[in-house]
């Protein structure tokens, strides 16, 4: 079967080179009650500079898909390619920011966490790594907390460290697995705004997983909606830059459109 035309259709921006392609990816794993298909037949393409959001309710396999792109688990069928090469083991080239706060090394300070990642992930010398780490921690507003241990930080601040660590490694692809889901609503909005700013400043390519429609519109350039059990692609939405500002009519209209298309059942709203 020739899938190339379909992939070309899915690519958002034809001018930029394609960075990541998923070709008919299915992921299933054995459970006690039989085989569970988390993701079924998902194909997509992601161009450099794009921020693609996988949007869907709990159980739609969006996080599973992100882990597969990260290299943490293998697809049962189908293929994931980055720059045309099949992906292998996890690598600092695809940095993941997880939802859980315990992704930081508790025995290293804030600075130590970022510096260690740079020493190992980018093979920088200790001194270079420290300089880069300080720069990034300043950018995420943690200048005053470089010597703090992670357990003394709030959830939002821990996520800032994880974000600084991910950006500092300058990965080809940033993977965000609902990084703000465990934060309070106010902090979440602030973090979304700051993440958007960082992404725009660095021109990063990102794959972002969320169950919040407003978050998807805020941070993404393109949104892929998934349906649950098993996870399948349902619809694609482009986010024009004008729709990205909260409180505007364009934002509200897009939110409404996605709401109706994806979450027809009001029970599923916002997961």
């Amino acid at each position: 079967m020739n899938v190339a035309p379909r992939l070309a259709d899915l690519a958002g921006d034809a001018a930029s080179p394609t960075l990541l392609t998923l070709d008919r990816v299915s992921i299933s794993y054995p459970t006690r009650d039989g085989t569970l298909t988390a993701v079924e037949d998902v194909s997509l393409a992601l161009s450099t500079g794009e921020r693609l959001v996988l949007l869907g309710p709990s159980g739609c396999g969006k996080s599973t898909l992100l882990r597969a792109v990260g290299g943490f688990l293998k697809p049962s069928t189908g293929e994931i390619r980055i720059n045309g090469e099949p992906i292998g083991a996890p690598s600092p080239d695809r940095m993941t920011v997880f939802q859980e706060f315990d992704q930081l090394l508790p025995w290293r300070t804030v600075l130590g966490n970022v510096r260690y990642a740079l020493e190992r992930g980018r093979s920088l010398s200790r001194r270079e790594a420290e300089a880069v780490a300080r720069g990034w921690l300043k950018r995420v507003g943690l200048k005053n907390f470089v010597d703090a241990f992670p357990h003394t930080l709030s959830g939002g601040m821990k996520q800032r460290v994880a974000i600084a660590r991910a950006f500092a490694l300058e990965p080809a692809l940033l993977l965000m697995d609902e990084p703000f889901a465990a934060l309070d609503a106010l902090t979440r909005r602030q973090m979304q705004d700051e993440l958007l700013k960082l992404c725009e400043e660095t021109g990063s390519t990102a794959l972002f997983v969320t169950h919040g429609i407003d978050e998807a519109i805020r941070v993404g350039t393109r949104i892929l909606a998934l349906t649950p059990h098993p996870g399948r692609l349902a619809a694609t939405f482009d986010v024009p830059p004008g729709s990205r500002t909260r409180g505007t009519t364009a934002f509200a209209e897009l939110e409404q459109k996605i709401q109706q298309a994806v979450f027809a059942d009001p029970e599923l709203d916002h997961g």
């Binding site: 882990r67 990260g70 943490f72 083991a89 996890p90 690598s91 600092p92 695809r94 940095m95 993941t96 997880f98 859980e100 315990d102 992704q103 930081l104 090394l105 508790p106 025995w107 260690y116 990642a117 190992r120 992930g121 300043k138 950018r139 995420v140 507003g141 943690l142 200048k143 005053n144 907390f145 703090a148 241990f149 992670p150 357990h151 003394t152 601040m157 700051e194 700013k197």
Partner: protein, 274 residues
């Protein structure tokens, strides 16, 4: 992006901090216990059964001055450290094998569940058969007493590490020895430390018990031997002095070595509450 600032803390009054320390309460309890001992022993008035605290302390003092007790203690500690180091080393190798392969995992699980409940002292007859009377037999039973609890704790520690932390480590491209040394060991350190602590307590107990059973040659005996010979000579105050030494050394290692280690590691890292 706006910098986040740290909250300000105010200092508690100095005097209140002193009284809130656990050390203070412990000293009071200790003094009460010492007083009760002294009074009861005087009332009993039988130095053969229960010498007074004063008599015990003076026996302790003269045993220290004569150099006998320090020598005995040094002998015990030398054997202990040898056995402890050997036991921890073997435990590390076993745990590494168990982490790296599924067969190793099963083997360690089976061996620990078989040997952990077996008291080290029960192996003494075998040790005497294999190694004869002397230090090698003592080291053998100490290794047995340390190896299983430490291996069990390390292994459990490795398995309890949060999956996100493991993924964060793998995301940096870490693997093999570096992954074990820089991610697994520090992440499992709370359990490893408690394993080392339990191992120490087991080793110390086992050593004293083994020395008591042994009888060894008088020249190379440790504290256990000191206690045993003094009992045989009905020097009860010296027996108590020996016991006091055993307690003091146990306390010292626990409160100085392990407590400092806990403070500069897992408490500082927030893996264990202060």
């Amino acid at each position: 992006m706006a910098d986040i600032t740290a909250p300000k803390l105010s200092d508690a009054p100095a005097l209140r901090r002193v009284f809130e320390q656990t050390l203070w309460r412990r000293l009071v309890i200790l003094a009460a216990f010492a007083l009760a001992w002294e009074l009861y022993a005087r009332w009993l008035d039988n130095a053969l059964l229960l010498p007074t605290l004063g008599a015990t302390l003076s026996a302790l003092w003269s045993a220290i001055l004569s150099g006998e007790l320090p020598n005995r203690t040094l002998t015990s500690l030398r054997v202990l450290v040898t056995g402890y180091a050997l036991g921890v080393g073997i435990a590390a190798v076993f745990t590494a094998l168990a982490t790296l392969s599924r067969w190793g995992n099963e083997a360690l699980g089976l061996l620990t569940s078989m040997f952990n409940p077996l008291p080290a002292i029960a192996l003494l007859p075998i040790a005497l058969l294999w190694f004869g009377v002397g230090t090698p037999s003592l080291v053998f039973v100490i290794v047995h007493s340390v190896l299983w609890p430490v291996a069990l704790a390390c292994h459990a520690g490795f398995r309890a590490i949060a999956p996100t932390l493991l993924m964060a480590g793998r995301n940096l491209g870490l693997s093999g020895g570096r992954f074990v040394a820089e991610i697994l060991v520090p992440a499992a350190f709370p359990q490893i430390l408690s394993g080392l602590r339990i191992g120490w307590a087991f080793a110390w107990r086992t050593l004293i018990a083994a020395e008591l059973v042994f009888g060894v040659s008088a020249r190379s005996g440790g504290i256990g031997w000191f206690i045993y010979t003094n009992r045989a000579q009905l020097e009860t105050a010296s027996v108590f002095a020996g016991l006091l030494t055993v307690i003091l050394i146990g306390l010292l290692v626990e409160s100085v070595v392990f407590r400092s280690l806990t403070r500069i590691t897992v408490q500082r890292w927030g893996q264990e509450r202060t």
